[in-house]
Symmetry: C2
Subunit: 242 residues, 2 copies
DNA sequence: AAGTGGTCTAGACCACAGC
DNA sequence: CTGTGGTCTAGACCACTTT
């Protein structure tokens, strides 16, 4: 079905993409569910199957959905595997990913500092939940993390206390209907401070890799701020440019 | 045109992609040139225009070619803009990319050390060219780099001496027909050594961000090893995960 | 005006999953 | 066997660039 050549003309498949994304974000379909088939969607939106296909292929490329030949198109789930492959960049010297374990040191509700408020797009003093945890690889403490969440998006999450699960993104999605879609990281080299040194069992002034991550949801709203400091003697951050 | 359903069956568009990639790698078309039109390629390979389109769209997604409506499909060129957007991840605090200037400290032909040989897929002691340079942002030295090239792929490059251009990838492509397609980076936090400290005008033990990059050509052969050490007070490494 | 890539459609056949 | 997504084709029309 064609339409008016208006000044704000967008290709059909982009319009369909937008509509499907909105429905995903509003929770019309849950992670793990199957979307209607291509032919059903084509009828629903009054376009050809090829147009639906192009929209779905785009969403698959962005990992919003997973296509299964013979089965259907599934809404992407934050199983531990996806978290690992999309959001975990720390590798061992031999090139293998190491799944760290975590120990929560602190998990409290408080108010946003100026920097946190700016990065999470909140007003200053807005309620946030702050988590500090230490992460272990081969039972050696390698990473200290400070995580800040807007309390409004995660009501009552602080009640988990120190029993918070290791894979937070799966928790966000399952319990709070928040899907992490993108993350922006800033990396710097810093000196370990007294706190870092104690948590990691190293001497102060040891160089650490600081990773400051802002995670965005399906609608590109920032929903998590995470600052990780890593001891990079045995591990490194791997990035592929292509 | 369909073909036999053999056990090694690959979709037509992937076969076409492969053939086009081979012709690109072998230099049948030069960077900046226009490929034959979709219809011409369709005739040439005996497939439909849609199949050619799918292959070309894939190549465009990988930045191997650039599509221009009304003009044609161009072989991607390593202008400074592309180098900047694909391979430069250091940003200012305000979020803008800073183009550094460079001063070459050393450019000599020598033999590969064990580590260099391993990463560049050479035998130990193979001839290499080693470059050391210092890079400046806002006329402050921020980065020291050690670059290692397999001499066979870049014959005579050492004769440039200290007059090497700032944008090396454009030189590789233009003068040596080597196109950098991918790069794999490993990031670590390290202490500045005596050399770093002198070059950057900082005190030893200052934490530096070390970026170890192996750059690959169109055929995924490693063709450059580059170790950069950056002072990250005013700049940071930015990475987007999506 | 001619030629290019971009969008959209319709229909055929194949490969795979599940009943 | 049915329904799903994956591949391939053919043709129409549009938007853009060049001559």
């Amino acid at each position: 079905m064609h339409e008016q050549p208006s000044p704000t003309h967008q290709p059909l498949y982009q319009q369909v993409y937008r509509m499907l994304l909105d429905r995903l974000a509003s929770g019309d379909w849950s992670p793990g569910e199957l979307l209607p088939s291509e032919t059903a969607l084509a009828q629903l939106y009054g376009v050809s199957q090829g147009t639906i296909r192009k929209a779905l292929d785009t969403m698959a490329a962005e990992r919003l959905v997973v296509r299964h030949q013979g089965r259907g198109t599934e809404v992407a789930k934050h199983d531990s595997e996806r978290s690992l492959f999309q959001f975990w960049h720390l590798y061992d010297e031999d090139g293998s990913r190491r799944i760290p374990s975590s120990k929560v040191l602190e998990c409290v509700r408080t108010t946003a500092r100026a920097g946190e408020a700016r990065q999470l797009n909140l007003r200053r003093g807005a309620p946030v939940v702050r988590i500090r945890r230490c992460r272990y690889i081969d039972s050696r403490a390698r990473i200290v993390e400070r995580i800040t969440l807007p309390a409004e998006r995660f009501p009552g999450i602080e009640s988990h206390g120190k029993a918070l699960p290791n894979t937070l993104y799966a928790l966000y999605q399952k319990q709070y209907r928040v899907t992490i879609q993108t993350a922006i990281e800033k990396l710097r080299a810093v000196k370990a401070d007294q706190n870092d040194a104690e948590s990691l069992g190293i001497e102060p002034t040891t160089p650490l890799l600081e990773i400051e991550r802002v995670a965005l949801d399906l609608e590109d709203e920032p929903v998590e701020l995470r600052v990780s400091r890593c001891e990079t003697n045995q591990i490194h951050y791997k990035n592929i440019l292509d």
